[in-house]
Symmetry: C2
Subunit: 152 residues, 2 copies
């Protein structure tokens, strides 16, 4: 017994989620490491890729991420030349995002590694279990906890 030195007592849904996220994040990051991308970056490039030059707000909404957080996360990818932004000509408030050619190459490279990670995980936990886990996580992501306001 070297690992679990303390009782996990993971009764907290949020704590359990973060813990699992750290674990899984490390795994995906490890597998993706040869590409030089983190799993979060690969995921972001992918999200941009599947969108039609998505606006930042649209990406943030899809990822359930704060808009400013997205802006910050995007910076290293822009700096490294994988992504570029441009103002929407019809509404100059809107900034759209697209992959550069190098970004697309890098994404393809990372996707190969992603498949490896994804496959290895599903080998370990089982395809069904992984699928139902994702479904449960999507449920969480889709929840609507409107804090019961006084409706004044």
């Amino acid at each position: 017994m070297s690992k679990d030195a303390l009782p996990g007592l993971t009764l907290c849904n949020n704590a359990a989620l973060r813990r699992a996220a750290r674990k899984l994040g490390q795994f995906y990051d490890d597998v993706l490491a040869p590409s030089g991308l983190k799993a979060t970056q690969q995921g972001l490039l992918y999200q941009i890729h599947i969108g039609e030059e998505p606006a930042m707000g649209a990406i943030a909404a899809s990822l359930i991420m704060d808009l400013s957080a997205l802006g910050h996360t995007l910076k290293p990818l822009i700096r490294d030349g994988y992504v570029e932004t441009f103002a929407d000509p019809d509404d100059r408030r809107i900034r759209r995002v697209r992959l550069t050619p190098q970004g697309l190459v890098k994404l393809n490279e990372a996707m190969k590694l992603w498949h490896v990670a994804q496959q290895r995980l599903e080998d370990v936990v089982g395809k069904d279990k992984a699928e139902s886990l994702r479904a449960a996580l999507d449920d969480i992501a889709a929840l609507d906890f409107d804090l019961p306001p006084a409706t004044p």
Copy 2:
């Protein structure tokens, strides 16, 4: 249709996990806000509390967190006087951690709010579903992806 502007396509286990973690984290953070603690901090205080003056390494192992990350996360809590560290007299490499009296007070305050969040979540998703989700997450956390090395 204002929310999901892009197709979620959450096929990636890791992406789904992070997305759910952002969502749930925001919810717990919102509910805990009156205490001035983030959900991560409440969880960390709790983990310290249930341990017997745990060593940093033990806490990090329990939370599946990098040791240095734990050190960083601990800093604001030490600065705010909720936590203190001290060297183990039998092995001065080891730093043990404990709550200060104020830390205990703050934890109790935060736990009340935590119960609210936890309850509200379980009201929304259902107790069984929450429980099985936690079980699945604990499974993930307990996985052992030893990258098949060449075993030289």
